[in-house]
Symmetry: C2
Subunit: 395 residues, 2 copies
């Protein structure tokens, strides 16, 4: 069968704020082939990602992503890899391409799974799935008192692991950060796993990050996430050598190599991959395999919908030793409502990706329509994209 159509749906909350909450909009992707439909999600700027699918060709190595996808053969996982390799060459100079391709790639896996009647994790070669312990992922409060309340609330929902991120950390003085870290631990109690994410705030400044290590060790943080720019490998390595707290990073990786380098040169203890950015499920699985071989723990990065969550769990679903997963705890209504079913914790407090074919997630079409944004892109006297003129406008 051939890939007949790829449609993009830009969804957004009515109001988008500057908070570091990635669930305020979404780019949903639908792929049709041979009577089947697959769904995926890009974790990226929706408008720019759509533009990268439809833009005019600039030259042989700067072609739109769509040129490598539409009309291609799709029968087996190898076909997805073949298309990915073609994009790597033909869209080499189109920087946004991996972010666009990620959502399409995920949809292709979903479609292939539905066609074969198998969950994606089986297509990836796993025989079984192992439950992952979800950590409630949320932003720090504006004040330590607020952080404390958020910690208490997460514990009240029986989360055994909680991550706090971004917010005021690294933007004020050290003492404020210390108070936030202590408030988080106090609110969570002694036994709850605590992770801390500082969203690249220290750039490549090793000493600024290192100043936070003693307090992070004191509150028993499992990891310090993204102290630096994704590519500041030397800074990662220098901070890793301090040894007191393991480092985590990788959500910014937009290809396999970037993740590999964070492991080999940055010496992270946890490699965090967003399938919606790295080029989809294929390269994420390759990172999971590589991490196992290097004794590094693979963790998903997911801050949006349960469609993205299912896609992000597939790459390491069958790895028993990688048992932590990020779980969007308090996403915006759009991300909650986008899917009809959700990955809920079992009696052991763990989640597994669905056994249903593909990604096992159903789109809530009514909700998707409600958040749909109208988009029109024209260039060279052609309408390149119109949200009103897609194959089937009914989401």
């Amino acid at each position: 069968m051939k890939i007949e159509a790829v449609d993009f749906f830009y969804l957004s909350m009515p109001e988008v704020t500057t908070e570091g909450d990635g669930s305020q909009d979404a780019l949903l992707v639908r792929v049709a082939a041979g009577g089947y439909v697959g769904w995926g999600e890009c974790e990226a700027s929706p408008l720019v990602s759509i533009a990268a699918f439809v833009c005019p060709m600039s030259h042989g190595a700067c072609r739109p992503v769509g040129a490598s996808v539409l009309g291609q053969r799709l029968e087996r996982p190898d076909d997805i890899q073949r298309i990915a390799a073609q994009i790597e060459l033909d869209s080499m100079d189109l920087l946004q391409a991996p972010h666009t391709w990620s959502g399409v790639e995920i949809a292709l896996w979903d479609l292939l799974g539905k066609m074969r009647g198998e969950p994606v994790w089986k297509l990836l070669g796993y025989w079984a799935t192992y439950g992952k312990l979800p950590y409630a992922s949320q932003l720090f409060g504006d004040t330590p008192a607020e952080t404390y309340q958020l910690a208490v609330a997460a514990r009240a929902q029986n989360f055994r692991a909680v991550k706090f991120g971004w917010g005021p950390i690294g933007r004020g003085n050290l003492q404020t950060d210390i108070e936030h870290f202590r408030a988080a631990r106090e609110g969570l109690g002694k036994d709850c796993l605590l992770m801390v994410d500082v969203g690249q705030i220290f750039g490549h400044d090793v000493e600024a990050a290192a100043a936070r290590l003693p307090i992070l060790a004191e509150v028993g943080a499992v990891w310090l996430e993204e102290p630096f720019h994704t590519s500041a490998l030397d800074s990662y390595a220098a901070l890793s050598r301090r040894g007191t707290v393991k480092l985590a990073g990788g959500e910014g990786a937009h290809n396999f190599y970037m993740a590999q380098h964070l492991i080999d040169y940055g010496h992270v203890g946890f490699i965090q991959i967003d399938t919606g950015r790295i080029g989809g499920i294929g390269p994420a699985k390759r990172v999971a395999d590589y991490a196992v071989s290097k004794g590094v723990r693979f963790v998903n990065h997911t801050f949006t919908s349960h469609l993205a969550l299912s896609a992000s769990l597939q790459p390491y679903a069958g790895v028993r030793t990688d048992e932590i997963c990020e779980y969007p705890f308090a996403p915006k209504a759009l991300a909650r409502e986008l899917t009809s079913n959700h990955l809920l914790r079992d009696s052991d407090g763990r989640i597994v990706p669905p056994d249903a074919p593909g990604l096992g997630i159903e789109i809530n079409h009514e909700a998707a329509r409600r958040y749909l944004v109208e988009v029109e892109i024209k260039a060279k006297n052609k309408v390149l994209f119109s949200s009103n003129a897609q194959t089937d406008t009914s989401v």
Copy 2:
């Protein structure tokens, strides 16, 4: 003064083909501040790069590039660095951002130079410029006979260095490649420098690239350029260890770190930077400084206009030991006609960046208008970009 306006002009040849010729379109950027105007050029997909400037915000770390630029203070080089740092945080999750920002950054340097009455290379701290030996940069012919003719033609124009790239190399069998390399050397004669660029064709396959090393050594190639994906550092390192021909790469770097890693981990002998992609002149200068400290040669990557050429020479204009430069030899009419003046070879066959304020390049407005492409981008019920509604439509 404040940055008052940033306008983008998408220019294109009437026909764009799949050949690897990056001069088939261009994204010209004009910045206005305090009564001055600066010009820059992005080496990237024009439509996608415009979208990254105007797109709606997705969240605090995925803001449009424009949000960090418009209205900002611009008095000194530090201001450009400050804006760059803000984009690094506020557009962290917008993959296309560095490609968009590059052209804007270049225009800001041009404007600052004009305001101060100084060439950009002086603003960068250089006291003098040193002539660069331009290599005529062109694509391989479709056949070895054609490659031979192209080599003869370049020599007839007195180029003392010539680079052949892309085309059929690595796409057929080894014997064909051998014939192309020999044809190039025969056409150039004994004394002309010969560089070979294979445009990432070997992905990360070290042995496929290594099979070409003996013939490249035989024809005396100065370097083998881009055998692999920009981020395939291990493959670069493995091929470097073979030792027979120096490696060159880096045009795909979209931040300082990527160039640094090609030097430190990939062990390239020549680091090639496109100021229109890496984030502009500032990070390119940082790479030039780093390369000097590591005994690696800095070379510009430029395949488009002389505006881009001047911008790409500034970062290493004052480094005497880096004496080779890429010179767009046979660009499309658009790239030739876009500027009123050109960087021509002196009696010694060398070129230097202009002594005139800024980048010292004048835009040919009539030509720019002739190649202008109409673009309109609408989302969320707003016109985000219209080529007809810019500050001043007269280019």
